[in-house]
Amino acid sequence: MKPISAVNDFVIKFANVNGSGSASANELFAKAVMRMGVPVSPRNIFPSNIQGMPTWYEARVCEQGYHGRRGGVDMMVAMNPQTWAQDLAEIEPGGYLFYDSTRALPPGSLRDDIVVIPVPLTAIANANYIDPRQRQLFKNIIYVGALSVLLDMQAEIFEKLFAEQYKGKERLLDSNVQALHLGRDYVRQHLPHPLGMRVQASDKVGDQIFTDGNSAAALGCLYGGATVCAWYPITPSSSVPEAFQKYCDKFRIDPDTGTHRYAIVQAEDELASIGMVVGAGWNGARAFTATSGPGISLMQEFIGLAYFAEIPVTIINVQRGGPSTGMPTRTQQSDILSCAHASHGDTKHVLLLPQDPHECFEHAAAALDLADRLQTPIFLMTDLDIGMNQRLSKPFTWDDSRSYDRGKVMTAEELEAGKDFGRYKDVDGDGIPWRTLPGTHPTKGSFFTRGTTRNPYAQYSERGPDYIYNMERLLKKFKTAATLVPQPVLRLCDEPTRFGVIYYGSTAPAMREALDVLDAEGLQVEALRLRAFPFPQVVADFIGAHDKVFVVEQNRDAQMRSLLVNELEIDPARLPAVLHYDGTPITARFIAAAIRQALAEADALAAPADKVSA
């Protein structure tokens, strides 16, 4: 059996029990790798439960900086007896099994095609701590210490991280450092080290930041000028408003009075949270809510009102596995249709599709501008994979010369000057009407907002022509939206290619890797990353420029593909779907395999490629 030897390119997975303090220890490990200049992308795989259930932390160490899930496990840190068997089975041949050897294992509970690394963690912890909680807690740090030696990582890095984390809590600091060394010393004395699989200092991290998409989106809302946030807790979105609260405490307190320049309401449910956002938007404050699938279903009626009455609304949908309660702690891109066509009747909504924390920040701020400009709901479509996992991405940037786009709001002066005000009248030819805010002018510009049909002057009307005027104006406004939303990102080849691929959101890192892989195999495919719906012209052009364009997404029903087909009037036969939807993040291996196979088939018989399913 030949042990895996790999430098800066492996997957290590920690099998733990939730609530046992492992989460922070595992993150400590990931951060240390990063501090060595080596990119790492960790993923929490956690249950819909609070304490005592299995949870995993899968960290991909990858010098080339591929952040997508790779698949396969090179080293398993097996800390959970409940899942021992399945964890053992997951290890690649030649891989490593790190476990707590305090109690002897029953015979036959190991594999002979892997390297076994026994460390008596419990024994070490018990020998050094009395308080059972501390024993438990430090056991985690001890295994991190042990791993650090096995993987050839310097103690200093960890000590520095501790120092930052426990600043002002010296008692914790010291005991953590001590625990780290307990682990390091044991390995140094009892085990061969370092392993053939190891981390080596590099410079591939650069100025990238390591954070999660939910905090990034919250920060984007702060920078974008959101003042009202109404929400209802739901996994995996709760950390958006929670982070917004944290940032507001820091940046939105009036220095002189100590009063708050924001209001955050934890509503009684999602019908109320969206209702509050609609009310605030109607009244001229930038407002947002964050939710996930079930919340989107409950918000449908209000979303229809906001579409038809034309009220700025920002909705952050951190997607999880559907339908229904589905897989609350797994990731998917399966709310595309329920958001793009939210509510009864003919509706079309704007979707933004960030790929990572950096874009979560950018798009969140952009969403607030777009909502005011377009006077309609804007959906920020992220998912659990980018929302709740920390990810390396470009640092946040903000141009101080930029100023908020508050859209078409008629002022008291304009009204006073006698400017004609037709709330639902298309005066500029872009389908976007002007609005007034309550309280603007004593006698001019007031109107009655409603979800029923009305004429361009906002008067109730049941006349067909008034209705048609309004509905077609809304279509025109949607066309305008296509020119304002974040534009697609292209990856072209030197030579035009027969095949293209379209993807979006959290699929990006896996896609990038897959394209490199295919490229290395001489399979040239041009790529377009969607960043929003409606689709700008370049999307149609891109599809037009290729015989076939794969549409890669993380849902069962090829939802984005159906929007492409219908909005751009494309023959579906030209858009083979590549679908991965089991709740785990899509991998480069999966994408590359699907495309490779489709290309082979296409070459073999010029028959049309068809849906490829996970």
Partner: protein, 351 residues
Amino acid sequence: MTFITKPKLHHPTLQKNTVGYTRRDYEGRISTLCAGCGHDSISAAIIQACWELDIEPHRVAKLSGIGCSSKTPDYFLGASHGFNTVHGRMPSVLTGANLANRSLLYLGVSGDGDSASIGLGQFANAMRRGVRMAYIVENNGVYGLTKGQFSATADRGSKSKKGVVNSDSPVDLVGLALQLGATFVGRSFSGDKAQLVPLIKGAMAHGGAAFIDVISPCVTFNNHGGSTKSYDYIRQHNEAVSRIDFITPGKEITTDYEAGSVIDVPQHDGTVLRLRKLHADYDPTDRYAVLAYMNQAAKHGEIVTGLLYLDPLATDLHTAFNTCATPLNALAEAQLCPGAAALARINATLR
């Protein structure tokens, strides 16, 4: 030719209030409600109250749900922005609007179906949160706009125009508002302008969540069973053609009685409503005392009207949130955006 005249709101005097508006300036579009609908009387009372309060019309934001009652904001305060939201969910919209701009006055108008059936949860939460608003429910015990089904405030055992009997225990919005923490709670009758106008003024001026339950008879769907002979012919006709085909134009039911007294008010359907007006010296500062008092009166078939509960020191959600004096919708970009330098520092903490 066929022509049923629309109810006219009280003819405005042309006298100006201290902010320089005549009563007409507080009117809205002509009502499209049924002739004699109690809701129109309430609109008239709102107009009167705002005029007397010297409120500038455009400083009021009027919000409603869906229903005949919820249509009424179109019929008063034409110079105010109005929002006819969705059925039963006005309270959340009003809450959001209020948070966005604390400098306006908020008037929520709803129906018993809108607030006690579909809207019960949102009604309760707006009261719990102490959202500053005057929340008026125009309570007729039925769904007017959808043609006379029961609402949650209909009494157990009552019979709808279509003959269905209600078996659910009624929701008493006043009782709920009291329990849930509303700091101004009143009840009145649409036709009792003398009582209603001051109540509305008090609610508009209140510093927290103010609720008024206004009994407001529905002409059209409450004129069945036990009604006076003269109606029979029409009722028989409607039965024969099995639809509410002919609607007898009704008259506004008005009443006026002394504080501390009880009065029987005949309704469109011939039944009588027994109202007891609180004594002028009644002390409305104990939530639970008033609950007990109301339940006592209920035993004698009496409905207590007046200002039932008041916390004069009430504060609102903004106080709880400690929001700044400047309306949130008026904060300048500089007050909202920490800027590039701060962002660089944030980036630094994420490496």
